[in-house]
Amino acid sequence: MQTSFIHCVRQGLVAGLAMLAISQNALAETRTIETLYGDVTVEGQPERVVTLYEGALDSAIAVGVQPVGAIITRGGQHVASYIREAAGDIAIVGAPGETNLEAVLALQPDLILATRQTSRDQYELLSQMAPTIVLDVPLFRQDTWKQELAGFARALGREGQANDVIARVGHRAEEVREQVTGSIPQQQRDTSLVRWMPQGPLVMSEGLFSATVLASAGFEVEDGGIVKEGRPHSQPLSQENLTLMDQEWIFLATINDDGREALDAARQSPAFKRLKAHSNDRVVPVDGHLWTSASGPLAALAILDDIENALSQQP
């Protein structure tokens, strides 16, 4: 009932947008978006979009907008590799937390999508260049990315596409979930998500984006209660406490594109060798840029692909 309602609305919107695209110059549609720093009005279809947040880049491309500028992924030299191709010939305008405002201005944006951590000072400068969207969406929740996608898509005038994309991700998650539930018994779906450091692992929170994707694919993500309230990203762990992260599965993230190196380093540790995920060969090395830094629908699809791959490599 509800889905069909959304479907109707979506159909209507798509039709409306198509008409708008035709009569764009004659009649600019205006939308008001609620943001952290008050209501922001956007006119028509923005064409020069700059994204200052990995989730915003992902959302924009997912709804069919090619941003002209973006920041590098944390610790990388360019945007994250999973989205590099889709992003095309995009200009780099800084690093997370270190935006080069002049580079943003030089791109002459007509819309800026920024991270929730943008300070008021920064916001005020950015909003003089173009309408700037800083969404007031709580981070580290199950549906954070959906709310962000909806907000950014509204600013981009592409809510219809956003709903399509959410449906596509949901469908894909369902597909992978069926494979997971089909091949792995219920009691063997516990998993933890860690970064391996020489001193011991960094355990990622259950609320992290990739953890929520794992959950949607049928895994039970556990952080052993060690990632505390108010520190919602990760928590380092002493090797003596490795049993706290000992689940059936371990997704091992690394900042290198090739996760093998981190896995080899981990395997040299006697404490790591004792983990049951290791002895069952269920340690899955994954790209840290994608798994611990990115968010958004395309990232979700890429993570679901990783999960499917991991399953196919199981005996």
Binding site: I72, R74, A91, I92, V93, G94, A95, P96, G97, E98, N100, L101, E102, A103, L105, A106, Q108, Q117, S119, D121, L125, Q128, M129, R231, P232, H233, S234, P236, T292
Partner: protein
């Protein structure tokens, strides 16, 4: 006659420093990802001409250049005061732990809240705390001699360790947000902190000038200075308070850029060899140095920016090693 020559030399040096500072500021306003032609610069500053140039110059670059000049001047003046009081050219606020403590307090506020929420007051609090502790722990004779310096070193080491712990134990996002702070950057400055610094710099500079004559006598030994009518205790305490105020406020804007406090007074002394403590010249040299270093940091890896503290450290390294290893070191006495 000699007196007159020295006077002339000082005036010439000051004028040269003002000219260098102006040039550095003009370059810094003109150059960047969006380059503004020099003849368009004046129009942009006075609110005419190309709208984009106006925005770039007035909103983006001017506040940053001013912040750079102010922090550079404050660090350098604080360094010059401290060096004179401690009679040691290496005894700058950065070395004896004041920067470190101010940073530790500021980082605590950044990582504690997740977003940079006015760490200015925290930084000043940290600077004052470190100095008070160093005073207290050094025992009765206050700023005199080595005890104060070594106590400061110890406190600085603890503050540095605490900063490291905070950074290694918070979420990576928060650590990244705080990182420019720990190396010194003009990118995350807050407007309030800059205006507080401006007021503090004017007050500190005037106080330093008032202390000037007494500070000149500190270049001799204690008995000579006392004979010349200097009230040592008072002069030392006042100069130190000045230095703490300036350092705390400057760290609040830009983080620890300690090298400026070491290098700028050196440059000023080299330019005006007059036997006087070159307070104003140090401030001017510091301002020029900082603005130039920030410009280099913006241009080097564009569009990514290098924090200014890293540039000053790289520039300072060869010079520091030189003064350490040259056989008869005038600079250390």
């Amino acid at each position: 006659m000699t007196e007159l020559l020295i006077q002339h030399r000082n005036i010439a040096a000051t004028l040269a420093l003002v000219a260098a500072l102006s040039l550095a500021m003009a370059m810094s306003l003109a150059l960047g990802t969006v380059s503004v032609p020099l003849d368009g610069l004046w129009d942009a500053l006075t609110g005419q001409g190309n709208a984009m140039h106006r925005f770039v110059v007035q909103e983006l670059r001017l506040p940053r250049v001013l912040a750079g000049a102010l922090t550079g001047a404050a660090f350098a003046l604080a360094g010059c005061l401290m060096q004179t009081v401690a009679r040691n050219r290496l005894a700058t606020p950065g070395i004896i732990g004041i920067d470190n403590a101010a940073t530790a307090f500021a980082v605590a506020s950044v990582v504690g809240t997740g977003i940079s929420l006015a760490p200015s007051a925290m930084a000043l609090g940290g600077a004052a705390t470190a100095t008070a502790l160093a005073f207290g722990l050094a025992g009765a004779n206050g700023t005199r001699g080595y005890r104060f310096i070594i106590a400061g070193l110890g406190i600085g080491a603890i503050a540095g360790a605490v900063t490291q712990v905070m950074l290694s134990r918070v979420a990576i996002d928060a650590a990244n947000a705080a990182f420019p702070w720990t190396v010194g950057s003009l990118n995350a400055r807050s407007a309030t902190a800059v205006s507080v610094l401006a007021a503090g710099l004017v007050a500190g500079w005037m106080a330093a000038l008032l202390l000037g004559r007494s500070l000149n006598t500190l270049q001799f030994s204690d008995p000579v200075a006392i004979n010349l009518g200097t009230r040592l205790k008072r002069v030392r305490a006042l100069s130190l308070a000045c230095a703490v105020l300036l350092t705390g406020l400057a760290v609040a804007v830009a983080g620890p850029v300690g090298m400026v406090a070491l290098l700028a007074p050196e440059l000023a002394r080299a330019l005006c060899r007059s036997g006087r403590v070159p307070l104003t010249a140090s401030a001017l040299a510091g301002a020029g140095f900082m603005v130039t270093a920030d410009l280099v940091g913006r241009l080097l890896l564009a569009p990514l920016e290098l924090p200014v503290g890293l540039i000053t450290a790289i520039v300072g390294a060869p010079y520091l090693i030189w003064i350490l290893v040259k056989p008869s070191s005038r600079s250390l006495t």
